[in-house]
């Protein structure tokens, strides 16, 4: 079949000549494994089951794409945190704009430095969680990232991190691709807050591999940047130990295409994971959350909470799967994905999936797509609140459920304020 061949041709074109060489044996091996996987999977294609709703063509085009630079004088998110800032410009770490790589309880190292060392903890993570996450659903862009990425950090957390770590992804040039790959290891009982902010590039491909050991807690909050034409494919792969906790929240406004994938695997009992997101799109906007959660331990709880506000023909996609393996008793899997369509032109497609092989589990999923409630609207306007303000209030109220998943109330409030401002700016 012609289109099957196309997958492999596109993959070869993406692999191209720009594959880094050298480094430690384990690093070379990880890249080779990813390369072999990618060659076997081919590039994402419209006909692939998990690319049915999102056309990957613009993510797999060989030539770099352009996106206007977004300028704002607003304070960036996460500035209020006690944190160290790691700044990337066009996907390249900029030490001059960044803080020292020093936080009590944390070892931070450039990925390229880590990958040059023959003996390094990152060898058990880099490309390893990604490769594991390739089955049963292929994620070729993540494999491509493992093959090609040279930018990123290896972060090992040994206790409670004294400060949060903030990745700030700035852009300097209109045209260009960027790849970043972070490997993060939280040792037993460790605790880290990691934030990410910004578009990274006109077209971004990110991978984050996170191992959360027993009793450790990882908090992740990100805001994806307001550049209107930017595109991004992001991937989080995580493995959770006993009584560990993983919480990730993503705020997305603007951007032409965003595909956020998360692959979460419970390996130890009594652990918790939340992946949540709030997105708001206007016009040429496609936002895709593709989540895969595997319960392979007893008494773990997973929550997926996604809210999308769509207007002027914007598109929202949710593909969320919970797999409960045999023996993963007392699993509590919660999945909620809702879209609020502010007009008839906007679309929401949801594909919630449950696959359960244990008998004592409680899994629920709810996907709905609705409009602003007329009765609520009348109630607010009858009190003298103008239509647009009332609409914004109800829109923000709709997003509230996702914002509530952010543990830090100060961040939650800030994210809410940003969404509120976004809505206020939209008048037509």
């Amino acid at each position: 079949m012609a289109n099957v061949q196309e997958k492999y041709d596109v993959a070869e074109a993406l692999i191209g000549a720009s594959t880094p060489s050298g480094g430690a044996i384990w690093a070379v091996a990880a890249r080779e494994t990813a390369l072999a996987n990618l060659r076997q999977m081919g590039a994402p294609h419209r006909r692939d089951e998990y690319w049915k709703y999102t056309n990957p063509t613009s993510l797999t085009a060989v030539d770099p794409l352009a996106a206007d630079l977004f300028h704002t004088t607003e304070v960036r998110p996460f500035e209020m945190l006690d944190r160290i800032k790691l700044v990337f410009v066009d996907g390249i770490f900029d030490a001059a704009q960044s803080d020292d790589l020093s936080v009590d309880g944390v070892e931070i190292e450039l990925l390229s430095d880590a990958m040059a060392k023959d003996i390094h903890w990152a060898s058990s993570l880099y490309g390893v969680l990604e490769a594991r996450g390739q089955s049963p659903v292929a994620r070729p862009l993540a494999a491509l990232n493992t093959v090609q990425a040279v930018q990123g950090f290896a972060i090992r957390v040994t206790g409670k991190a004294a400060k949060a770590i903030s990745m700030v992804y700035l852009r300097g040039s209109e045209t260009g691709d960027a790849m970043v790959h972070h490997v993060i290891k939280l040792e037993q009982g460790a605790d880290l807050t990691l934030t990410e902010n910004g578009p990274l590039a006109a077209r971004a491909n990110t991978v984050m591999e996170v191992e959360v050991a027993d009793n450790a807690a990882f908090h992740h909050v990100r805001s994806q940047g307001r550049d209107h034409q930017r595109r991004a494919a992001t991937h989080i792969f995580t493995q959770l130990g006993q009584e560990s906790s993983f919480k990730s929240f993503t705020l997305t406004v603007n951007g032409r295409l965003t595909r956020n994938e998360a692959v979460i695997e419970f390996l130890g009992d009594n652990a918790h994971a939340t992946v949540a997101g709030a997105c708001a799109g206007d016009g040429d906007f496609l936002h895709d959350d593709t989540i895969f959660i595997t319960h392979d331990a007893v008494n773990c709880e997973s929550r997926q909470v996604f809210k999308k506000v769509l207007r002027n023909g914007a598109t929202g996609i949710f593909q969320g799967k919970i797999l409960v393996k045999a023996g993963a008793q007392k699993t509590d899997g919660y999945q909620l994905s809702k879209a609020l369509l502010l007009d008839d032109d906007s679309n929401f497609m949801a594909k919630p999936e449950l696959e359960i092989y244990a008998d004592d589990v409680a899994c629920s999923h709810g996907s709905t797509c609705g409009e602003i409630d007329d009765d609520a609207m009348f109630y607010l306007t009858s009190r003298g609140i103008p239509f647009k303000i009332a609409q914004d209030m109800l829109t923000l109220a709709f997003l509230h459920e996702a914002l509530e998943e952010i543990e830090n109330p100060v961040i939650a409030e800030d994210m809410g304020a940003r969404l509120s401002d976004w809505m206020e700016r939209r008048t037509g």
Binding site: F378, T381, R383, G384, M393, L394, A397, H400
Partner: protein, 251 residues
Amino acid sequence: MLSIKNLQVGLEEEDKQILKGVDLEIGAGEVHAIMGPNGSGKSTMSYVLSGKSGYVVTDGSATLNGEDLLDMEPEERAAAGLFLAFQYPVEIPGVGNMTFLRTAVNAQRKARGEDELTAGEFLKEVRAKAKSLKIDADMLKRPVNVGFSGGEKKRNEILQMAMLSPKMCILDETDSGLDVDAMKLVAEGVNALRSEGRSFLVITHYQRLLDHIKPDVVHIMANGRIIKSGGPELALEVENNGYADLLAEVA
């Protein structure tokens, strides 16, 4: 104050006439009560006056101090001084009661060309008013009407009314669902607001509320029309005899 002439209203979705020619004149400072059997059109009238969608005015007019109400958006009617205490207050998850109230108060002030209240001024006022209605701070913090008991919702309506200081207040069965003490409280709240420049239209099924809020005029609505108007004694008659005799009179 409020002048309704031959108001005829049907439903947008189906061919059904609900108000069949309502005439009502409420002067400044007056309190009128409307009673009437279930389904006679009392709530419909209050909704149409406040601008709820789904209804079609097929004939007649309604003006507030000479301004054509029916031509305005709901928020404009509110800014013009109209207030409806809902029979069934709406729950709005995710919108805080305080945010809601403050946005409403300031939107109306702005629409009238007045200065907005500062956070401090607003807080002071809302606390004082909430206290007199026995609404505790916790209720103010919760999302609008979410998890409120029936009676709490009604008190919250009166709090909004007190904060917005409207000219024309319509209370749609504010007494139903209230315990005896709460009814007194609400009546006191209403009485405190009575003034020369403010009128009330109180929709109720029970004479009891009218013991506390003494009406100047009582109207009986049946089948989409006001079939009889009179003094407070009319409410007593309904309380004692029901609507059968009154309906028979007009039949």
